[in-house]
Every structure is written in C-alpha cells, then in structure tokens.
C-alpha cells in the first residue's frame, strides 16, 4: 500500500512542477503494475474469506450459495432489497448474508474484511455493465475456465 502511495504522490508532485496544462502525467507501467498487485492482494484475501466458515457460526461460507461469486450481482447495487426492506449497498447485502444465512456477526462497513469481500465480488464481475437498482434478470460473473478467476 505504502509503496503505491509513494509512487502516486511522486508522480503528482513531478507533474505539477513540470507541466501546468497537463496537470498529471499518465501512470507509468510500473505504477499500474504495483497498483494492480495491491488490488489483487485484496481480492485474494476476499476470496479466502468468501470461502471461509469463520464469517458465520453454522459452518456455511459465502461460496456455499455463490460459487465464483455467482449471483452476488455487484453490478446492480445500490438497489431496493426486499429482504433488507430498503435501498441497500453491496456492503449492506454482504452483512445481511453474514447475519441471516451464515448466522454470523456483521462486519464494520469500513473494515478490512468488508473491503476484501467487496474487492473479490467486484473483481469477479469485471467488465459487466453497471445497472444500479436492477432487480430483474441477474447477470452472471465472468466465465472462469481455470484457476481462481483472477490473475
């Protein structure tokens, strides 16, 4: 995390002094690679949590019902969620699943675990069109041929 911040800040300062009209130069390949690695680390952590019974108390995991994050539909949030009774964000829905089917303790919205779960779910739906509020036909996640579904 720190490495990336340093890189981004570095490029920012350089760009401000070097060129006024183009306030920031594009990220270098190296910058992009590091940032992507940081994201994938979080995705990996989310993948582990998603497949771990420790979020709940009845042995179930998120993956019991959502193989490859299928049917999590992050592309449709926020939306009115009948089982929550109001417009819910993806994080609200993650917590609902932890509380009801998994019989676990809800996570703080800004916790590292919540961010990791969210990162994994979003990443498995990369490239999908955003459709906030859509409660019609769900779109499947990316089609995975082998491996965990991310690089």
């Amino acid at each position: 995390m720190r490495v990336v911040k340093f890189f981004v800040m570095g490029s920012l300062i350089l760009s401000v002094s070097a060129n006024f009209s183009l306030s920031k130069p594009p990220f270098t390949e190296e910058d992009l690679k590091l940032m992507h690695e940081e994201l994938i680390n979080l995705v990996k952590k989310g993948d582990e949590l998603f497949h771990s019974p420790k979020l709940g108390t009845n042995g179930l995991t998120c993956a019991n019902c959502h193989p490859d994050a299928a049917f999590t539909n992050p592309d449709t949030f926020p939306k009115f969620q009948p089982n929550v009774g109001e417009v819910a964000t993806l994080r609200d829905m993650i917590n609902w699943c932890i509380k009801i089917p998994l019989k676990g303790k809800m996570l703080a919205h800004d916790s590292e675990e919540m961010k990791a779960l969210e990162a994994y779910i979003y990443y498995m739906y990369r490239g999908r069109t955003l459709k906030p509020g859509d409660n019609t036909a769900p779109v499947p996640p990316v089609k995975v041929d082998s491996g965990p579904g991310y690089p």
Partner: protein, 340 residues
C-alpha cells in the same frame, strides 16, 4: 409392493390439478413429449409406478442444523405420500465433509424411510467421498454402483465423482483434500467421471438387455457437458451414452447442480434434482432448454430454492418428474411435472 394401475396413476395426478395425460397434452413442451413418446417402447411390460428422488442434503456435524430440517421435511413428505412411492433414490452429497458423524446422521434419517416401508437406494456425491476416499460410505451403504429391475424398468446407479489424484503430489492431508473438493469451483480437482471399471461393468450389465428395455440411470453429476468449471459434467459421459445408445429411450436423473435443469441427448432425456440444502445459481452458459428453469429464490427462507422430486413412470415409459417444493420456485407450467 402394491401395483398401481393406470387409473390409480390418473387419480394421483388429478389430485395435483390436471390428469397426467391432459397435462402432457397441454404442455408447452409438446414437441419434446411427442419425441419421447415416439421412442418409447410398445412392447415393454411396465406396470406404472412412482418413486421419489431426494439428494444433496449436505449434512453438517452440528446438531439442529438448518440442513437437518430441510432433509427431514423432504423425508416426512415422502413418508406421507399416498400411494407410497415404490422406493426412494438418494442421489448423493448426503454429508458435507464426508465425516462419519455426518454420514451416520444421514443414514439415521434415511432409515426412517425403511421403517415406514419405503426402501431406498443410494449413490455417492463428492462431499461423501473425499475425506477417506469412500471408505465410510461403502461400509455404510455398500457398493457405489448397482442395477436392479423393477416393474419392467431396468434401473442403474453409478458413482460419477471419481477424480484423478490431486492430493499426493501436493502433500495434502485427507481433510485438505476434502476441503478442496467441497468447493464447487475447486480449481485443482479436475474433471470427474465413473472410470474404466464402471464402464466395463455397465457394458456387461446391459449386454443382454433388448433395445426396448426401459432404462433409468442415476448419477450424481449430469451425463452431459453443462458447466465443467463446477463439475456440472461427467468426464466419460460420452462413453456411457454410447453404451446406452442401443436402447430406445433412457431417462437420466442427476443431482449435484442443486437446480431445475433439463436436456436431451440422442435417445436420452436428462433432468436435474433440487437439493434439500441450498440452490446453486445458474452458471454463465446458455441453458439447452431455458423454459425449464426455477424461479428467483428468497435467500432468507431456508425452505426456498430446495426440495425433492416425485417421478411417475407410465406403461409406455413416459416419465413425469414433479419437483416438490415448499416455496414459489417452480413456474406454473412446470408444476404438474416435467415430462421425461
């Protein structure tokens, strides 16, 4: 066992709304029915009967688990059926982690069927198998593949979840091996199938049967390529289909997919059974028959998205696969059963 006449069958179907025959006639899948009918035998001597299919119970060790409740409800429903089904087929994944306590719990629950005069047959699923490579399961239930004849129909059950060794080279413990394959999207487990031994057995088993013999085959996984990523497949299904290709018609019933799904290949019709534990979402591929599909599931209701099935076989070897559910899961046009 009590013989069920066509008239009785009619009565049973009628109690669900419309008689079996008129349900066929009104069915939106008329084309499909006609094909099955054309292929069904004129000469066979089937006395119509029904049997129930239960599966994918995924029992956990802890007491009073929600999956105990849903399996119990299915078993209670079957015990209350009138007329009684001739038998029950349990289609795999009785346990969740192949533990002895899980399998014992499952056996105790299934044995209630026997106590109520309903025999049951059983095949394994991957969740029953990979803690001790089937040892406990076999001690408890015997051979994982078998066949028998019943009222003019030849029934076959096979163990379709045999994978190649992914654990030895990785130095995995039995528990690690089980945990890996307990994930539907296991990406080190590889594709499973029945293997050479069972293919040879199957060949011998059907060798002397005439082509007009009605065949029903049970496997945990589908005998067609649905979504290999989740092992919604059986590696040597092409060989199985070839061995069975001499028959006029074969009905193939499978579990593992935890969903309503239907397909046809050559002389075979395939149908997926619901789990009693939880539903799987549809995978990111086209369904071969998109009209045969379950409705949206309420994840807050442990009785939604799950169920069991009652199967009628009539004297012309037309089947009717009736999904039995406890919530609004089956589209109205499928409620009278999916013709097989």
């Amino acid at each position: 066992m009590k013989k069920i006449s066509r008239r009785d069958l009619f009565k049973v179907s009628a109690s669900f709304g419309v008689g079996a025959v008129s349900a066929f006639a009104l069915s939106p899948f008329l084309g499909l029915v006609e094909i099955s009918e054309a292929k069904s035998s004129k000469r066979s001597k089937i006395s119509p009967f029904n049997f129930a299919v239960i599966g994918d119970a995924h029992l956990y060790e802890m007491p009073n688990h929600r999956f105990d409740e849903t399996l119990k409800r299915a078993i209670d429903d079957v015990i209350r059926m009138r007329p009684k089904p001739d038998f029950v087929l349990f289609i795999g994944d009785l346990a969740n982690f192949g533990k002895k306590v899980e399998l014992e719990k499952g056996k105790r629950m299934l044995d209630r069927l026997k106590d109520n005069g309903i025999p049951y047959f059983i095949i394994p699923g991957e969740h029953d198998w990979y803690l001790d490579l089937g040892q406990t399961w076999k001690e408890m239930f015997g051979k994982p593949y078998w066949s028998f004849d019943h009222k003019g129909v030849h029934f076959i059950g096979m163990n379709s979840i045999l994978v190649e060794d992914y654990w030895t080279a990785r130095n995995m413990s039995p528990w690690e091996r089980m945990l890996a394959i307990a994930e539907l999207e296991c990406h080190i487990c590889g594709l499973w199938g029945v293997g050479e031994e069972q293919l040879e057995w199957l060949e011998k088993d059907v060798k002397n049967l005439p082509p007009d013999t009605p065949i029903v085959i049970f496997t945990h996984s589908p005998l067609w390529d649905y979504y290999p990523r989740w092992n919604f497949q059986t590696k040597d299904a092409p060989e199985i289909r070839k061995i069975l290709s001499k028959f006029e018609k074969v009905i193939a019933i499978h579990g593992h997919v935890h969903q309503v799904v239907y397909n046809k290949t050559g002389n075979m019709v395939h149908i997926g059974n619901l789990a009693t534990a939880w539903p799987w979402p549809y995978p990111p591929v086209e369904l071969p028959y998109p009209e045969i599909k379950m409705l949206r599931v309420d994840p807050g209701d442990i009785y939604d998205g799950v169920g069991w099935a009652n199967t009628y076989i009539d004297e012309t070897f037309l089947g009717l696969f009736e999904y039995k559910t406890w919530a609004e899961l089956i589209p109205p046009e499928l409620k009278k059963g999916v013709p097989l």
